[in-house]
């Protein structure tokens, strides 16, 4: 730089070469016109900057170069750091690290393995259905019961399925005159009116159980039933009587008794339920109105007491399923029952020593000998 002329004043220098000793006038809109001695200013500035040769950077050519070098090395003094040129370390336990080199901004760590992060290997089979699993806990894999009494799926059990007694619903119909009624199963119809005719129908005549009773007044009503019912022999509807009819799977059973009396019910001695229904029985007149059949009873065929082999109860045995209701029952004198035609092979009636001998009579008053067949007619048990 050349020495300038003393006291030279330069206004608004542009590309004019300045020399030490020049006085520079600076016109600033904010600070007004100022002037300073260029030589003094440079000296001050140099003092502020310092001696470039004192820089510890490799680049000492300019302050800017030194600053840039310092910035790239992270600042500080000493030896300038160099970038880390190896691959970054794998992920692992957190650590401050020992390297003096800096990492580049686009460095990439290796992809961690499954074990590095505690994950399952990529080839691990993930179960997608229950059959992929091992049933080591014994969970149910199939329905333990696939059907109940022939019913499958969402099974709804009825009384028959579990062998339970089906509840009987009683219905009383007091209509007089001609009555027609469609019978429902497991329903006991009481026709208490003064009937001239009674017509009953059944949706499934040969299956299930139907039952009804009716009163035969001074004139016996006309009774119309399905012809698919097997009717007992000598089934005659007489006036002034009450009839109870039970149809089991198409077989018709009949009880007849006086209009003024309830029937005698059997007593099941086996079960110990010694129940006797005597409702409606006129005191002192138990047997007199059972029916005309007992008027001409023949007592000549009484089974000798010595021949009674099984004391304890009246027993009906060796009978078919159609008359199984008779099995094990104890019948008291005056009881009536109907044998199914051709179904009963043998009747044995025994009684106990201290009681009168009981015999079975048919509807015409004839006594039935023990160990003989009975048919579908009405029978009456009588005390001798």
């Amino acid at each position: 730089m050349a020495e300038n002329d003393a006291n030279r004043i330069i206004n608004q220098p542009s590309d004019l070469e300045l020399l030490p000793g020049d006085v520079v006038m600076v016109d600033s809109s904010t600070e007004g016109t100022r002037q300073f001695d260029l030589g003094t200013a440079l000296t001050d500035l140099k003092g502020d900057i310092g001696d470039l040769s004192d820089l510890e950077t490799e680049d000492k050519s300019s302050l800017v170069g030194a600053i840039n070098e310092a910035a790239q090395s992270g600042g500080g003094g000493g030896t300038s750091p160099s970038p880390y040129t190896s691959n970054p370390s794998s992920l692992g336990t957190a650590s401050a690290g020992l390297s003096s080199k800096y990492s580049r901004g686009d460095h990439v760590h290796p992809m961690p393995s499954a074990s590095d992060v505690g994950a399952l290997p990529s080839n691990t089979v993930i179960p997608s259905k229950t059959s992929d699993l091992t049933n080591d806990s014994g969970f149910i894999t199939s329905a333990p019961v696939t059907s109940v009494n022939g019913n499958t799926g969402a099974v709804t059990l009825n009384a028959d399925d579990v062998g339970a007694e089906t509840a009987i619903t009683e219905v009383t119909i007091a209509t007089d005159g001609a009555v027609t009624q469609a019978l429902a199963q497991n329903t006991w119809y009481h026709f208490t009116g003064d009937l001239t005719s009674l017509t009953v129908t059944a949706s499934a005549p040969t299956a299930g159980r139907y039952q009804f009773d009716f009163i035969s007044g001074s004139t016996a009503p006309t009774l119309t039933i399905p012809d698919s019912w097997t009717i007992p022999n000598q089934f005659i509807i007489e006036p002034n009587a009450r009839y109870k009819i039970v149809v089991e799977d198409g077989f018709m059973y009949l009880n007849k008794w006086s209009d003024n009396h309830s029937p005698f019910t059997y007593v099941d001695m086996n079960s110990g339920a010694y129940t006797l229904n005597t409702s409606g029985v006129t005191a002192g007149n138990v047997y007199s109105n059972i029916g005309t059949e007992i008027v001409s009873l023949n007592f000549s065929a009484v089974k000798p007491k010595s021949q009674i082999s099984n004391n304890g109860r009246l027993k009906v045995c060796d009978i078919s399923a159609d008359t199984k209701a008779l099995i094990g029952k104890t019948y008291i004198s005056g009881s009536m029952f109907v044998g199914a035609t051709g179904k009963v092979t043998e009747v044995i009636f025994n009684t106990w020593d201290a009681q009168p001998i009981i015999e079975i009579h048919n509807s015409t008053g004839g006594a039935i000998a023990a160990n003989t067949s009975i048919d579908g007619t009405i029978y009456i048990l009588r005390t001798i």
């Binding site: 005719s197 006309t222 009774l223 119309t224 039933i225 399905p226 089934f235």
Partner: protein, 94 residues
């Protein structure tokens, strides 16, 4: 009322129940009996027979009924009494 009908010239009394259109009908009505071809039976009193004769009963079909009719026949010989039989066996006179 009792009913009957003739089948092949043979009298058949009405049963106590009828089989009508898939049903059994007990104590059928008069109309039901007649619809099944039965006619009411009309009983008549036996006339007084002459000496040595008697009447035998039979049924005769009319248009609306079956009437009890009587045929005059010779009366069968009377059976001897026990005493008469005993007297004959003992050689006495009857």
């Amino acid at each position: 009322m009792l009913y009957g009908k003739f089948e092949s010239n043979t009298f058949v009394p009405a049963p106590y129940y009828l089989h009508i259109r898939n049903t059994y009908v007990f104590n059928p009505t008069d109309e039901q009996y007649m619809c099944e071809g039965y006619k009411p039976l009309v009983n008549t009193a036996m006339p007084e027979p002459p000496e040595g004769y008697t009447y035998e009963s039979h049924w005769e079909e009319q248009e609306d009924s079956i009437i009890q009719a009587w045929t005059l026949v010779e009366a069968p010989p009377e059976e001897p009494t026990s005493e008469e039989i005993l007297s004959i066996l003992l050689g006495g006179t009857s």
